[in-house]
Symmetry: D2
Subunit: 311 residues, 4 copies
Amino acid sequence: MTQRIDRQSEGVFIIAATPFASDGALDLDSTDRMVDFYLDCGVSGMTILGIMGEAPKLSGEESARFAQHVLDRVAGRVPVVVGVSGAGLDNMARLSHSVMDAGAAGVMVAPMPGLGTEAKLRGYFAQVCSALGPDVPVCVQDYPQTTGVQFSVETILQLTRDHDQIVMLKHEDWPGLNKLSRVRDESGTADTPRLSILVGNAALFLPQELQRGADGAMTGFAYPEMLVRVVARHKAGDVDGAEDLFDAYLPMVRYEQQLGIGLAIRKEILHRRGVLAAPAVRAPGPSMTKADHAELTRLMDRLDRKLADLG
Amino acid sequence: MTQRIDRQSEGVFIIAATPFASDGALDLDSTDRMVDFYLDCGVSGMTILGIMGEAPKLSGEESARFAQHVLDRVAGRVPVVVGVSGAGLDNMARLSHSVMDAGAAGVMVAPMPGLGTEAKLRGYFAQVCSALGPDVPVCVQDYPQTTGVQFSVETILQLTRDHDQIVMLKHEDWPGLNKLSRVRDESGTADTPRLSILVGNAALFLPQELQRGADGAMTGFAYPEMLVRVVARHKAGDVDGAEDLFDAYLPMVRYEQQLGIGLAIRKEILHRRGVLAAPAVRAPGPSMTKADHAELTRLMDRLDRKLADLG
Amino acid sequence: MTQRIDRQSEGVFIIAATPFASDGALDLDSTDRMVDFYLDCGVSGMTILGIMGEAPKLSGEESARFAQHVLDRVAGRVPVVVGVSGAGLDNMARLSHSVMDAGAAGVMVAPMPGLGTEAKLRGYFAQVCSALGPDVPVCVQDYPQTTGVQFSVETILQLTRDHDQIVMLKHEDWPGLNKLSRVRDESGTADTPRLSILVGNAALFLPQELQRGADGAMTGFAYPEMLVRVVARHKAGDVDGAEDLFDAYLPMVRYEQQLGIGLAIRKEILHRRGVLAAPAVRAPGPSMTKADHAELTRLMDRLDRKLADLG
Amino acid sequence: MTQRIDRQSEGVFIIAATPFASDGALDLDSTDRMVDFYLDCGVSGMTILGIMGEAPKLSGEESARFAQHVLDRVAGRVPVVVGVSGAGLDNMARLSHSVMDAGAAGVMVAPMPGLGTEAKLRGYFAQVCSALGPDVPVCVQDYPQTTGVQFSVETILQLTRDHDQIVMLKHEDWPGLNKLSRVRDESGTADTPRLSILVGNAALFLPQELQRGADGAMTGFAYPEMLVRVVARHKAGDVDGAEDLFDAYLPMVRYEQQLGIGLAIRKEILHRRGVLAAPAVRAPGPSMTKADHAELTRLMDRLDRKLADLG
């Protein structure tokens, strides 16, 4: 029986890369390895076909094939959320129904660009929910750095009140710590249903966000074991220990958080760690220079030494 | 006794240019001529130090001197609104109090860039009203093409409910006809005070906007007599005649409406019409090419012929 | 034998709507009627699957089917350009090759958002040309209002020098009259090949643009006969007559030029003129209010009267 | 004799806050304390009236008074750069000449918003240099996150070739490591004069940037001693030691780097460290919540402990 995301979902939903061969074709062998790697790291869930998954560069047929392949490999062990953002509601509904039928746990929707007022934003999500139908759980992605669309706390709370199916917030407004605090404090109240809040933005503020009440992370850091352990320690009450571990990785978190080039870095790390056969990014996309490669080697070595020091 | 703008203000508030000599200095002789020209055209009011008035290119001292000069020349015959938008509330309050003391009828405030949610926008105007004090009537400028900030109808209505001193809307969102209709219909009701609505955006849709209930125009077209006559005809019930007259000028309205270069065109026309000694725009600013000059001559000639045909 | 667009292409390439039934399905009967209508109006070419063609709201399969249907109906009588802009070069190449095989005359490419420097912009088009291969003629769409990407004249000239297949510019930067003059004057020289320049931006400045050397228009005005006659008169040397005719339509050109709602207006006019069975726009998309409908009726009536007066 | 910035300038130019009393007035006592604090930290220079210095919120008179006060207190011990960005070249020239006469070492200029092509950007800096005259050394601020204007490497190199007075780059494009490498490698060559490159963006990548050839930092981190020591260690050849020290502060660097709220955090830290009498930010501006205060306390404590561990 497939698990659906809900208002209590927590832990680490890793944002999965989409593996390509050097010639740009979908690499399903690497996909299998990647799914197994994420599961071995202890993730609570997976999110595919997000912005970092290069979704807009796949054809419709490739998206469907990749989603099916991941869902089959995961085989219900953890919930899988599928990014379905796009320009037209027909396409969004079609893809959503297809992946839900195939076993997805919910869909993630970022607002389309140009929704410049909150009235428009609320109208848009009403249209989305109506197009998807009430049986598809939705994670709302609040990511103004990329979409140009800004949510107020009031709008987020309104969305969770108005739509039973909006159960999760991918929080990656930046800076956004006080926004997170407010959504946490002002939902789960008498009149506003609780939202699951998973943080994105490369987890740059993960300890602070957990301390402010986040339920976990939804991001694609290439060392998912760190995310899993930090969230676990925090939930076990070891707040300082969680932050100590995080801080050890922070130089790398910061490095991978670079918009654009960050995707190439992430894939390169997954390649070096034996997960992806090739670090290929589809065109047009970022690529690493020789200096980047040397710098990454240096940062990976420093991380290894620091982890060894921590014991 | 100075007239203040209020919720019933109507007619044509011409957006005044700021005249410069060829060497860039303030040209107060041309300012006198311009004020007289506007009054002779029959305007109901004047707005100075707006974006088209090159306000950010004046020093604080120049702004104060220019405002004082215009106010003295107008001598209370029509209300004068002064643009005071800027980054800091201290500066805004200082300038506002200074011009109100000198006889201004109110101030115009556009939101500062970066107010990406309506919650922030409402918070900003609360701060502005508090900084200005309750005795300064405010015209809110809704001009997202330049500020990047978008108002929903709900926010505009909230502002007029929350702040007695917000009495006027400079409507220049684009496209914005339905927004205008909604603000008109949903203010002046039992719970929401009426707003005076003057339209900007170079008056490109003036007849449609009057038909939808605008109270007039606040824009800087270099043939103010057209604006005055169109509004007068419309108010006299000659809706078709108003639109016929407007359409005769439409090729020129469209030409002057070009963002950026439009300012140079406007000053050039005022120069050719004998109002400004020089068409100078302060640097950095647009300038007209030889082709532009020839094109403008052609358009002015065509307008003259069309007006002659109309009789 | 299929005609390809080239550096001498001229006339009116009408931007075709994509007809939908009231339930949102592709309406191929209306498509036939629309193609016949455009051809009867005397257009020199057609452009499909552009932004106004709601391309991002079609599935891949629908795009291919619609393109094939239009190409079959046109049957080589005029060249058909296909919009192929998108996030990934693989998808772009796949669609381009498919439509070229089906008889298209070339493709139109707007830069993807985020290309903030001209160096990146030139790099992008180099990638595009390489992905498409040298046999696919390209029309570059310069439309910063929608893409957020700005071309300098220097970059446009560089593109036409660097890539034999870049043969046409869809000029719709705004304001852009001097840019058009410069591209016209500085291409077709000893070192820079000529570009065909067709103007967009709803043709708001068509007479001025023709006077500055444009080869025609590529836009979707719902009265294509005006575009065709204005371009023809102008080319026949009747510059004033061309502008007189245009000015008669200008109130409607201005009305249809409204970003967003303009698409709904255009489809409504085509519906009222008997071309489209339904004026449907796919969600999320603009719709007309009752006031809009009345306003459009009024503007259409005024246009009819003015055309009757012109004889 | 006043020192001017030049193409060899290096070290840490601290971005100075502008101290205000709780009532918002300029606080010149705190200013003295702050200048002394910075000098005690060992900074190589100071930059005042930048964006972080809330320059747009000062009146012209206040800016002049504050600059004069800082210059007097510094008394030539280190070079002082003054931010002069603004909408009008007349104001910019007036302020620049006034501060240069008072002993400034140069001025910093960020491009005004809206310069969407590099051709326009180069034209703008040509106008700026002409307005300032050749005797005013210029630091170009490349900060697209705030200005919306993007420089390519080619444009930066062109500026340093075209204008003898453009001697320094404040590098804070993001992500920007490869851009920094290229500017470093491609300037100081036979045909392109060397540029001093100081990094901003809150120093989030300071070790990487030094390793790629930056000459130092120009940013406002509230622990300037870290910046000074990291740069010194790096220049002394202790590359790893420099990075170790930096990484200890990285959780705080990351925290202070938050756009907007970062200014309030920075002033609060300077207040807690006894430098500023009040942490006041002028309206409209960010303020810290109770949760922010607690979080900052926690981060400051963790930093103290980590520094104690480092010995």
